[in-house]
Assembly symmetry: C2
Homo-oligomer: 135 residues x 2
């Protein structure tokens, strides 16, 4: 069962430009910055209510975020992550409804969460992540 | 102060195609459908935790959502709406931080909420709405 929107992944050209906007214009607090070498991104985290906002800056031209920014030069929402109580069951439900999965088996993402992505061709343009606390 | 993400506005070509995806693949429930003539859209509402998901299908080629779909034919996240306790103060704070405002004065949106949009040129590609319950 989906319980909330866990986070929004937002592609930006530069954390050094975008972080001050989230801090000064929206009044949100940057809680954490981290480089994720495997995804070729630098990230900055904010929280609004129960949802995190994850800014993603590419560290290499072959980062998935760099490719997104080629199509959307100003930046934008790269993915929406839903928290689920049962990621295996949720993936099965999605597949049963005809959704193409990027990951048939969840893998361990940040903070020990299990995560998997649905294919945007099946999700009406929104790259969709499912995530669950590790059992 | 921003308290949560109130809703995501997601552009889709067809509610009749996208609603079953949200219902059957994600297990969310379509709570309400409504045509908003002023915005030239048909909408369908879902809820995930404290955040609503608002699917937006254009009813006319000159709808803002039709223009978004020209650039993003598969659909995608059109806007992110933050709930704030003080929309006037939040707009002032954003303007003071150099953000261009689409609406300098909030107007009454759906469900009696006061809403205003920040300009995406100032918000690193994410069309951003602020909204507040009507005082």
């Amino acid at each position: 069962m989906i319980t909330k929107i866990d986070h929004l992944g937002i592609a930006v050209r530069s954390l050094d430009e975008a972080v001050p906007y989230y801090e000064n214009a929206l009044g949100l607090k940057c809680e954490h910055r981290e480089e994720v070498a495997s995804q070729k991104v630098r990230t900055a985290f904010f929280t609004a209510g129960e949802t995190h906002i994850e800014l993603l800056e590419p560290t290499s031209p072959d980062s998935p975020i760099a490719k997104f920014l080629e199509k959307n030069p100003a930046g934008g929402v790269h993915h929406v992550a839903f928290a689920t109580t049962d990621i295996g069951g949720q993936l099965k439900q999605a597949a049963g409804a005809g959704v193409k999965l990027i990951h048939e088996v969840p893998f361990e993402g940040a903070a020990g969460k299990l995560v998997a992505f649905l294919h945007p061709k099946s999700t009406y343009g929104v790259l969709t992540e499912l995530c669950a606390p590790k059992a």
